[in-house]
């Protein structure tokens, strides 16, 4: 494997991080919205959100990616491979994130909400000033954990030709007729990325995990 081949693997790593990062940036707020809808028992929307979460949690990312990439254009909407990849990861991770947010919401101490209501705080202010500052601290370790799982699921988007790490490695393997070295290098890159995230998770748990739990 040449130096140039390794550089194209690094490019792939950049793309993996970019697409997974975009997926997380969309998926975390989307998951929060889904959790709020279910928590507040919004009529009509709450059951839909529940079905969405259940369905997406049992859908393989590969299958969803193929569905989005091939079926969305039949609706007359053009979609590129990158967009399809980001959308896939965002939709999948939103379902898992919503369960993390919801667990935090369900465990939220009711007495605080009652006190806030007694002081005449409207719902929006209660959410912004009382719930959210504590909720994100409780949910952060779970969200970072889900981010590691998402990186491990991200090779699914190689199936539609996005040149992320896995795709870059198979391409180098096909060109050099020696698939093993690029595969091992790619595995090393994933391990490095995931170890950084696991380290981040430990740090986050130490730094923020306890504060919310005690409040």
């Amino acid at each position: 494997m040449t130096w140039n081949a390794f550089l194209s693997l690094l490019d792939g790593a950049g793309l993996t991080l970019l697409i997974s990062g975009a997926g997380i940036l969309i998926g975390v707020p989307l998951g929060f919205a889904l959790a709020l809808i279910r928590w507040a028992r919004v009529p009509v929307l709450a059951p839909i959100a529940a079905v969405y979460v259940s369905l997406l949690r049992s859908t393989p990312a590969v299958t969803l990616c193929l569905l989005i990439f091939f079926a969305v254009p039949t609706l007359g909407i053009e979609i590129g491979a990158w967009t399809a990849g980001i959308l896939t990861l965002a939709l999948v991770t939103a379902a898992f994130n919503s369960e993390i947010w919801r667990a935090g919401l369900l465990n939220f101490p009711a007495d605080q909400l009652e006190a806030a209501r007694a002081f005449g705080m409207p719902a929006g202010l209660r959410l912004r000033r009382i719930i959210f500052p504590q909720l994100w601290r409780v949910s952060l370790p779970g969200l970072v954990n889900e981010a590691t799982l998402l990186i491990k699921a991200s090779p699914a988007i190689a199936v539609i030709g996005v040149a992320e790490i896995t795709r870059a490695a198979t391409r180098i393997g096909a060109q050099t007729y020696e698939p093993l070295p690029p595969m091992l290098a790619a595995t090393g890159l994933y391990v490095a990325i995931i170890l950084v995230l696991v380290g981040l998770q430990r740090f986050v748990e130490k730094r923020y995990g306890r504060i919310g739990a005690q409040a």
């Binding site: 369905l55 049992s58 299958t63 193929l66 039949t74 090779p155 093993l180």
Partner: protein, 218 residues
């Protein structure tokens, strides 16, 4: 769009064949991974520190690797060592290898939190060696592990979809085939996704039954 579902229905035999492969691969993969996982869990819990630490290192490393990468490593790697097999077997080997690490970690977590008293009582009654494991430790571990093993089985079912990339004829591969031939992407993949959903719901129901059994036995 309804036209698409008609085509998929006409070729439902291909989906069923794919589904059978998905189910067989998942179940066989889970059972074998659980068996090997027991052995690895025993190594993780070994009193020999070097063995325990070395095993922990390998298990942790395995849990950092994306499943598809491991599939490629098995698929391209093992033939270089003279071990040649077809795609289906390569897929199964990757499933087993990957999930052995996860199963071992699940079993170890429960084993570590097992009440000491039962094991101490068992040794006091003269249980040792193999009988201590088969009669005292593993029955307790397996019953408590039910829900987590169920979760892992759902993960395995979802992971089998990756095997479409090395052309294993499983459910996603079957849906892809129908879609490529008749261009009915929406119908083909939606049907596949709903089948995955049903499979996972089935596993969840099974897990619930095991949990009930564990409650009764407690």
């Amino acid at each position: 769009m309804s036209h698409g579902f008609e085509i998929v229905w006409e070729h439902s035999d291909r989906l069923v064949a794919g589904l059978v492969n998905t189910v067989v691969l998942s179940l066989l993969g889970a059972v074998l991974a659980l068996m090997f996982g027991c052995v690895v869990a025993m190594m993780l819990m070994a009193s020999n520190r070097v063995l325990a630490l070395a095993t922990q290192g390998v298990v942790d490393l395995m849990r950092c690797v994306p499943f598809l990468m491991l599939v490629y490593l098995v698929y391209y790697g093992l033939p270089q060592f003279g071990i040649d097999f077809d795609n289906w077997t390569a897929g199964l080997a990757a499933l087993v290898l990957y999930n052995t690490a996860y199963m071992a970690e699940i079993l170890r977590g429960i084993w570590k939190n097992l009440p000491r008293e039962t094991i101490e009582a068992a040794t006091a009654f003269g249980f040792q060696g193999r009988r201590l494991y088969t009669r005292i430790i593993f029955p307790q571990v397996f019953l408590a592990a039910g829900p987590m093993v169920g979760n892992q089985l759902i993960q395995i079912i979802k992971d089998t979809a990756f095997l479409t990339i090395i052309a294993v004829p499983e459910l996603t591969q079957a849906a892809s085939g129908i879609q490529a031939q008749y261009f009915v992407p929406f119908a083909a993949f939606i049907v596949a996704i709903f089948i995955y959903w049903a499979l996972c719901a089935l596993v969840e129901a099974g897990t619930f039954a095991v949990e009930r059994l564990a409650e009764v036995r407690r």
